[in-house]
Structures are given as C-alpha cells and as structure tokens.
C-alpha cells in the first residue's frame, strides 16, 4: 500500500504537471481539492484518466468521485478495492 501511495503521488504530479509541487510534499491524507492541493474540476477529469490509464479502472458513478479523490489514502484504498474487478 505504501509503495502504491508513493507511486500515486508521482503520477499525480506528472499527470497534472504540478510544477511547484514535489511528490514528497503531498501527505497521504492531504486533501487534493480546494483547501489542500487546490485542484479543480479539470484536474478531476485528469485523475479519472489517470486511473484508467495506469490502473485500468473506469469510474462508473459520478458520486464516487468526491470520496475516491479526497486524498492519496482514499485513492489507494479505491485502487486496492478494485483489483480483480475491472
């Protein structure tokens, strides 16, 4: 799980081209949107693409988004829970 979180942080920085943020700056529980990293709705779409590209996971319900993309912890937990289902 820890390895997955580190990998996710690097992928977030790369996918969103976060020039002023290093992967180690992102805490496992740091909120990704608004008050945390300050990501926005276009970033949310980029994260959905990231999950599809890197982990083969398709988000089917729009209601899942806010819960899944709350932090690196919630993203990692979601990826783990989807293993073998997609």
């Amino acid at each position: 799980m820890s390895e997955l979180k580190e990998k996710l942080k690097q992928q977030i920085v790369d996918q969103l081209n976060l020039k002023d943020i290093k992967p180690e700056d992102i805490g496992d529980d740091t909120p990704l949107f608004v008050e945390g990293l300050g990501l926005d709705s276009i970033d949310a779409l980029e994260m959905i693409v990231l999950l599809q590209q890197q982990y083969g996971i398709k988000m089917v319900s729009s209601e899942e988004g806010p819960k899944v993309f709350r932090s690196v912890n919630t993203m990692a937990a979601f990826i783990e829970s989807q293993k073998g289902q997609n």
Binding site: L16, N17, L18, K19, D20, G38, I42, L45, E46, V49, Q52, Q53
Partner: protein, 353 residues
C-alpha cells in the same frame, strides 16, 4: 478607412527577437541561424502563476505574456473585449490530443489537451485568465487571421460597444509542423548552423518563424499611445495588377519621404517576385523594409510588423536587420504594412499621433 479615431495604447510581443524586453530598442536584433527561428522566450514564471502555467502550452504562455505587456502599457487590468487571430491554432496541444486519440483508440483522453486543441482556445484562455466577460472571438483565416481580428476590434470600437479592446495574433511552429512543412517543400533548405541568407538568396522556400503579438486598441489617445490605426484592409485575388491598383489607391495620399512600407516578403523567390511586382507598380518611390527578415514566416507575422510599426512611429526610428536607427523627430508620419500570401493580401496603415 476607419471612421473614428483608434489608437494603439499598448503593445506586447514575443517573437524570434527579444521583443518583450524594452532594451531591444538600444541593443538591436539578433541574427538568427538555420531555417527555423524559435521565439526568444521571457521567464514565463515571472509573469504567470505556477498553478495557471501548468496547463498552458508554449503558445498560450506567449499569448498571455504578450497580452500582459500590452495591458500594462495601457494601464488596464482587464480589457472590455478580446479578439485574437491565429492561422494554425494551438498546434502542440492539437497534436498531443490527436496522437493520444490514435494511441488509445479514442479512450482515456486528457481533457487539458482536448480543451486546448480547439482554435478558440486563445481568446477564451485570455478571457478566463483576465476574467473578461465581454466580447470574445478567435479568427482563423489563414494569413489574414490577424488583420481580421483587427477588423473585428475596429468594428467594436466604431460602434461604441467598447472603449478599448485587447487584440492579438499568435502562431507556433512545432517539431511536427516543421517536419510536415519541410516534407511539403515549403521550408528553405539550410543546415541548422548555417547563417540565414537575408531573404534575398533567390531560392525557393521560407524560414519558419513564430510569435505572439498583442495590442490594446482604444478610442482615445493616451500618454502611452504609440500611433493611430487609420486603415486595415484585406482582399482576395491572384492578379498582381489588380492588387497593385488597390494598394496604389491607398498609397496615393501618402508622402514617400514621410512613409515607411513594411513588406511581407518571406524569402521564397516565387512569392517574393509577386510581392515585388505589386509594390513596384503601387509604391515604387516608398522605402521598404522586409519585416519577416526579423521574425520568419508564420500566419500572423503581421502582428510582429504592427509591433515594429508602433515603435517606429512612436520612437521615430528606422528598422534595419541589426537594429534601429534614430531619425529626426517628425521624419516619419506613416507606416504601411503590406503582405501578400497565396490568394490573400492585407494592408494596414498607421499614422503618427
């Protein structure tokens, strides 16, 4: 002719010359080499917030900073309207989006490159950045895109819909577009380190340039005003004699001793011979400077010419391929920009103010 007084209140340009730095007026131009002239870029992060810049391709960064330069000179934070011309749009993002579409079979596409792959990205991006809720339009009309964006801005000002407009033109050359143009035989054949031939080598092909030039046009003369925009005309047609007659009419009222003609020769012997034929008939007595010898050829290079013309009139200086020469005050009253490319030609006239 434009019916109401319209002034260039601010001008900003990113080009293959260091046009974003005022020192260029003293330091002069750089001699470019090879057949692809990239922009000399400013430190974009000094101008654009890191969170905003991360989604901008290079051409959007150029548009943003060139627009800021013009707006700073005009001392405005937000224009009342934004109009942009581009011949080819955001090529880098378009290529990125299309190649991912092919690679991924139409799935898993990045929204950022999709959003930026459309031509109207340029004006809309600026509107979002500067929070401008007014008129917003991007014109994509090949080599007269910039002139048509000027025309739209002029109409807005003439109608009294706005008191000032941000208007600009931008195009980029990418590895892919350069390679394709090269394969099509459009580019002058030069080694990468070879000195450029000064646009008079008598050979086919042109040198690929790029750039973004923006202006604040307003209905009143301000302390920062460069010049008065008097006329913008575009036309279509292949007959050089017919084009020459139209240009001759426009030049008839101008004194050759008080006028500089900035001509859009691009170094391609075939196209330049047509431009020469038009100008030798319509303006034989007027001094001519070939502005693309500084910025290369691209669809909105006349935006660079307007930046050059603005400085020439305001500072009373004459351009050469190495820099500017001072002129006695009041020496130049008019600058005319003429370019002809394929079926299109365009004419812009500026007067000293």
């Amino acid at each position: 002719m434009i019916r109401t007084p319209i002034f260039i209140q601010g001008a900003g340009s990113i080009s293959p010359q260091k046009t974003w730095d005022k020192k260029i007026l003293e330091e002069g131009f750089v001699a470019q080499q090879g057949n692809r002239w990239p922009c000399i870029e400013p430190p974009y992060s000094d101008w654009i917030d890191a969170r905003a810049i991360r989604r901008m391709s290079r051409v959007l960064q150029r548009c943003n900073v060139a627009a800021q330069l013009a707006m700073n000179e005009a001392t405005i934070d937000c224009p009342e309207a934004i109009v942009v011309g581009t011949a080819m749009g955001c090529l880098e993002d378009t290529w990125s989006f299309l190649s991912k579409m092919v690679q991924n079979g139409g799935e898993r596409l990045s929204p950022t490159s999709f959003i930026h792959s459309t031509h109207n990205t340029m004006a809309s991006h600026l509107a979002l950045h500067f929070k401008c809720f007014g008129h917003n339009c991007t014109f994509v009309h090949r080599t007269i895109s910039f002139e048509n964006s000027l025309t739209d801005a002029i109409l807005l000002l003439e109608e009294g819909a706005v008191s000032q407009v941000l208007v600009g033109g931008a195009d980029e050359v990418t590895d892919i577009s350069f390679d394709l143009l090269n394969q099509l035989g459009q580019i002058k054949q030069l080694e990468s380190g070879e000195n450029s031939p000064g646009f008079t080598d008598g050979q086919p092909g042109w040198i690929a340039g790029e750039g973004a030039s923006f202006f604040v046009l307003g209905n009143r003369q301000t302390a920062s005003s460069y010049a008065r925009l008097v006329d913008v005309q575009t036309g279509a047609g292949y007959d050089p004699e017919e084009i020459a007659s139209r240009i001759e009419e426009q030049m008839a009222s101008l004194d050759p001793g008080k006028t500089l003609l900035l001509a859009g020769h691009n170094g391609n012997v075939g196209e330049d011979s047509i431009t020469d034929q038009i100008l030798s008939q319509s303006a034989p007595a007027f001094p001519v400077f070939r502005y693309k010898s500084l910025c290369g050829e691209y669809g909105t290079a006349s935006g660079f010419a307007l930046w050059l013309a603005s400085h020439v009139l305001k500072q009373q200086i004459r351009p050469s391929t190495s820099g500017f020469e001072p002129l006695p005050s009041g020496e130049l009253d008019h600058v005319v920009i003429f370019q002809q490319s394929g079926p299109h030609h365009a004419f812009i006239r500026l007067d000293r103010c």
